[in-house]
């Protein structure tokens, strides 16, 4: 196997699966992690399959540095490449140098942990002794010294996933693809695994593409994030930007934050409409131009809720001040560490209340509550 020096991953992939059409372009620099966030069915797996070589794109090209690993045969000649690449390129998965770590470890059940990790180097022609030494080194790097002779069935789920990471990296890939690698692990194991992946891939400096539906993965691992919706990338940028101030309701839902749009009434305040009158929300961020469309973003957990009666009975139905509003509970759902409340007045605005607070609120459908969010927890932005 020829070992190239690697380089930037550049993939433009168009693929059709039944009625679904994926059409995306991603560029991942060496030493960078790009997180592609999207729910099930948004096309994440199709994108990875095209890069890994399990599915030929119907149009587009995938490059690692100067090396073309996939190119759909051009039909109309509208390819922007310019060169006369009439024929397609579809490099065999074994020749691509693309490492993939998925949700399931998929360790070879008949091989020990060490043999699993040594498999890649061996398959690429490394002498047995050298391959085993390299594998042993990798097991050490993922904290599994002493587990060399274990069969996968004698390892826990988290240990198996660590062996799988070692196996993927021991094959010295030029590109690393991470396909929801923490989704099947319990919370603590996933957290340790995230840290391990972050450390190990930082030491390798290879372009890494992470697809996930969990914003936490992107926050911990990714420099940049892209939101994939129905086969298209709808927002892309630094992770803090994309997740901190999503531009679409879809992206906001993925990031787990409230996104409201309205009109700027001050450089730091936005008025958003509501069924029982507007709310004025002050926050931090861009200086707004009064009278122009603007958006506000804040976390459901940063909102404080109290019983409306406890505020001031005489003012309970009149307009509250900035960053505060009233609402009658319409739905209550379980949320992380408490309950999520949505009100009749603001159906697109979720409020998370910790269990300890919730028990004192006498919650029930129709209960009137007063809400308040601190300006420091609100991000304001001009709305394009």
């Amino acid at each position: 196997m020829t070992r190239t020096e690697g380089g930037t991953l550049a993939a433009r992939v168009v693929a059709r699966v039944g009625d679904f059409r994926l059409d995306v372009e991603v560029i991942v620099e060496a030493s960078e992690v790009l997180a592609v966030l999207g729910p099930n069915g948004s096309g994440k797996s199709t994108l990875l399959a095209a890069i890994a070589g399990h599915r030929a794109p119907s149009a587009g090209v995938v490059r690692i540095g100067e090396r073309v690993i996939a190119r759909a045969p051009s039909i109309g000649g509208d390819d922007a490449g310019g060169d006369d690449h009439a024929g397609g390129v579809d490099v065999d998965p074994a020749e691509r140098s693309v490492g993939l770590l998925g949700q399931q470890p998929l360790l070879f059940p008949h091989l020990t942990a060490l043999e699993n990790v040594a498999f890649g180097p061996r398959a690429q022609g490394m002498p047995k002794r050298e391959a085993r030494a390299a594998a042993s080194d990798w097991l050490d790097r993922v904290g599994l010294t002493g587990f060399e002779r274990r069969l996968p069935s004698a390892l826990s789920g988290g240990q198996q996933q660590r062996v799988a990471l070692a196996r993927t990296l021991a094959a010295r890939p030029d590109v690393l693809l991470l396909d929801e690698p923490f989704a099947a692990l319990d919370v603590q194991t996933a957290s340790a695994m995230r840290r391990l992946v972050a450390e190990q891939r930082a030491s390798l400096a290879i372009p890494t593409l992470l697809v996930t539906h969990d914003p936490l993965d992107a926050i911990v691992l990714a420099d940049r994030a892209a939101i994939l919706q129905a086969g298209r990338i709808v927002q892309q940028g630094p992770t803090a930007e994309v997740l901190g101030h999503p531009r679409t309701p879809f992206a906001a839902a993925l990031a787990g934050v409230n996104l409201l749009t309205g009109v700027a009434v001050a450089p730091d305040a936005v008025r958003v409409a509501g069924a029982s009158g507007p709310i004025v929300l002050r926050g931090t961020g861009e200086a707004l131009r009064v009278g122009t469309p603007a958006s506000v973003v804040f976390s459901p957990a940063s909102v404080h809720a109290r019983a409306a009666a406890s505020v001031d009975p005489t003012r309970a139905t009149s307009l509250p001040g900035d960053n505060a509003w009233f609402g009658a509970v319409s739905t209550i759902e379980p949320a992380r560490g408490g309950v999520r409340i949505v009100t009749d007045e603001h159906p697109d605005l979720a409020v998370d209340v910790p269990s300890t607070t919730a028990v004192g609120l006498d919650l029930g459908t129709g209960a009137r509550l007063a809400f308040r969010v601190a300006p420091s927890d609100v991000s304001v932005r001009t709305h394009a």
């Binding site: 196997m1 998965p93 074994a94 140098s97 399931q104 070879f108 059940p109 008949h110 498999f119 094959a171």
Partner: protein, 284 residues
């Protein structure tokens, strides 16, 4: 160490309770037809043992004719099994990894000898390789005559035994799926490396079971052999044919046939026991 032992004990205990629970959940009258089923299978073999004139056994078993037939049977069945593995494993791979339509056609072709009476197989082989057969004439010109030779025995056994191997291995391949093969390819392994180091080890239990079934079927093959290879002592008279000859032979007592049958039963039991011990190892 103590923890591990305790853990295993718990697992074993749970398994036993599950089995007992399952036993209590089916209609109890099923025991009646089940017992009849056991009787249908076991009574004839028991009768074989009861009817046996044990004083005759040593002479019958040690007779040159019996030993010759047994040797011929074991050698031809072993060769046929070898041929089945060499041809059958690739065929199983092709079927398991083909598109649905192609696989269905190939699977039907493979299964056909399994459901055909072996006599029909013998006729079919004669039609192909017999003196006036499709290929037989050409082979005759080249000085090759296959029918009524030991080669014919091996071909007949291969014909009837191959489906057992193919179907067993194909089932294992489809159960194993292609996920591990995909992972191996992603790690840079070429197709042959994947086949040798991943695919074959994963289907090893199925391959062993299929090989054993295949061998047992080849050993017991009678119909196709009788028609295509004939019944001449030393070259084509395998154990089943020797039993048939002894049974029908003028003046020879039935007891020889029974004694020879007993030998075949013992070989079959030995094969099954061997397979069991392998299979218990296999899942590791």
């Amino acid at each position: 160490m103590t923890t591990t032992t305790a853990g295993r004990a718990t697992v074993a205990g749970e398994t036993r309770r599950d089995e007992a629970g399952a036993a209590a959940r089916f209609p109890l009258w099923l025991y009646v037809p089940a017992a009849l089923g056991v009787a249908v299978l076991a009574l004839p073999l028991t009768a074989l043992l009861v009817r046996l004139d044990w004083t005759q056994v040593p002479a019958a078993v040690a007779s040159p004719a019996a030993l010759q037939a047994l040797t011929l049977s074991l050698v031809t069945a072993a060769i046929a099994t070898g041929v089945c593995v060499v041809l059958g494993v690739p065929l199983a791979v092709v079927i398991a990894r083909s598109s649905r339509g192609v696989a269905a056609v190939l699977r039907t072709l493979t299964t056909l000898p399994l459901v055909l009476p072996p006599l029909v197989g013998g006729i079919a082989l004669l039609a192909l390789l017999g003196r006036n057969g499709l290929f037989g004439e050409t082979l005759g010109v080249l000085g090759l005559r296959i029918p009524f030779t030991t080669t014919a025995v091996v071909i007949a056994q291969t014909f009837v035994a191959l489906p057992f191997l193919v179907i067993t291995v194909e089932g294992s391949l489809r159960t194993a799926g292609t996920r591990y093969e995909t992972v191996a390819a992603g790690l840079g392994a070429r197709r042959f490396t994947v086949f040798r180091r991943i695919t074959l080890p994963l289907v090893a239990p199925g391959l062993i079971a299929g090989t054993v079934l295949c061998f047992a079927r080849a050993l017991g093959e009678f119909g196709a052999t009788a028609l295509f290879a004939g019944n001449s002592a030393g070259t084509t008279r395998t154990m089943p044919l020797a039993i048939y000859t002894a049974f029908n032979g003028a003046g020879v007592s039935e007891d020889i046939a029974i004694a020879l049958s007993l030998m075949l039963v013992l070989v079959a039991v030995a094969v099954l026991v061997l397979m069991r011990s392998w299979r218990e190892d296999a899942p590791r």
